[in-house]
Assembly symmetry: C2
Homo-oligomer: 286 residues x 2
């Protein structure tokens, strides 16, 4: 096709995929091109706006590194992540719902024994978590591999501290023979997603707040079950209805119960207030 | 909204733009979110595919620097650039058509006198360009600012050579009082766009060739006229019907006439073959 116009270009681009050996890639790219072109046409996108888009993506790429994933943050704040998660995990009633993975998971987090303190010195009020991991038949899932990660009392994940390479308030644990898992960490708080990059600028430009309600991330893997990536949110948080990444599900909200100083659940004396969280995860067969 | 699902999330995201003070930004983002979500739903995008997308964008950002713009290359190869150009420049009959800007323009190119050799030593057979710049009334446009950039005989732009900071085969010139502009450069050839990055990998994965037909880029600015960003393509090039960035318009194809060694158009003796190109640009009032 020699004479490309605004009217024939979409078919011209899609036609170029005719020799694509991977039918799924062809399907995905054909849909992507139709929707991208649809967006350009529907908005009458100008060349200056196109260049703003190029510069936005460039800045997003340049701020992304091994510790910061601004593209995930962008996908999260546009609801693309949660939509993808939701349509891939339409759970049967009773199974724990999934939510966004987020940009702060670390593959190399340290392993801990069941019952350990995973805080690593992260600042915050003590939190004692006591959860069960069961199949939909109610039987405990033994030896499930559970990744946990969360922010500290200042709303930061360990990877957000410059010059800190220590793992704090994250770890990998395994459920016991009855599917029970306990650990000590710190009380998470609501926090703003990083606002010093292009995604933060976009939130400001659109009049959106950058806050996420307080939560603890869990990734639970066990043979014979579908991997569950989810959060447990803290009941009463003011941002439960306006999570900047659209991750809240009502079924994932739980009480983080406050206790006065005294004998904690691990039979040790706790100075000052501490909190406890109990949660029952139900995995789907997979 | 507390309970986000795959069915209500698009409205939830768009609802977050309700306080956006810039109505055009709101319009553009609303359309973007509808189309992105439409793409995710239509394809039933999986989480693994979503992560491939995140990794693709990350790699695209990381290879982009001051000399290489992989996001523009991505936009070009998906036809997004040409669609944007085409819908913003539906020219009246007779006006020169626009095409893609491409990733190889340099803002700081050197200025040359009308008639100069802009090759800067770039390898290639001599090319003598003689063009006119007129308004739609036929009158020559005096003192138009004309950016020219092109590849050399090996298909590379100056900025693609590692450790080369010299400007070659690019420059800024001005038309004379009659709207005439002449310069010497080198004969451009068909070339593959850079294939050592994510965009090249995508072309391979989809069975597409990476070639652009031979061309010279022009950006022409003059007071009272719409800026024209275009190419002149070389007639007879085998890639005129399959330009990887969809930039060809039939009206932009011209003969690059081959001549035997002898007295060239600048009344100097040329050793070996040389080429001449004549082209008449017609600017729109703007």
């Amino acid at each position: 096709m020699r004479n490309i116009t605004e009217h024939n270009i979409t078919d011209a681009v899609i036609g170029r995929f005719e020799n694509c050996a991977d039918p799924r890639l062809k399907e995905v790219l054909t849909s992507l091109v139709r929707h991208l072109h649809g967006f350009v046409r529907e908005t009458g996108l100008t060349e200056a706006e196109w260049m703003q888009g190029i510069e936005f993506l460039t800045a997003t790429g340049h701020i992304t590194d091994a510790k910061r994933q601004e593209f995930i943050l962008l996908s999260d704040t546009l609801g693309v992540s949660m939509l993808t998660v939701a349509q891939n995990h339409s759970k049967p009633a009773g199974a724990t719902e999934a939510t966004v993975f987020g940009p702060f998971h670390v593959a190399s987090a340290p392993c801990f024994d069941n019952g350990a303190d995973i805080s690593g010195g992260a600042p915050g009020a003590p939190l004692f978590v006591d959860c069960t991991i069961r199949g939909s038949d109610g039987a405990g899932v033994a030896d499930a591999t559970v990744d946990v990660w969360q922010c500290d009392q200042d709303g930061f994940y360990d990877v957000q501290y410059k010059d800190n390479d220590a793992h704090r308030a994250r770890g990998v644990l395994h459920s016991d023979a009855h599917g029970r898992l306990r650990f000590r960490s710190v009380l998470p708080v609501a926090y703003p997603i990083p606002t010093d990059g292009p995604v933060g600028q976009l939130l400001v430009a659109t009049g959106r707040h950058p806050w996420r309600p307080a939560h603890v991330h869990f990734k639970i893997q066990a043979p014979g079950f579908e991997t569950l990536i989810t959060h447990v949110f803290r009941a009463g948080d003011p941002y439960l209805d306006s999570d900047v990444v659209f991750g809240v599900r009502a079924s994932l909200i739980a009480d983080f119960v406050a206790h006065s100083a005294g004998t904690g659940p691990h039979a040790r004396e706790i100075e000052g207030r501490y909190h406890t969280l109990a949660f029952a995860f139900v995995l789907q067969p997979g």
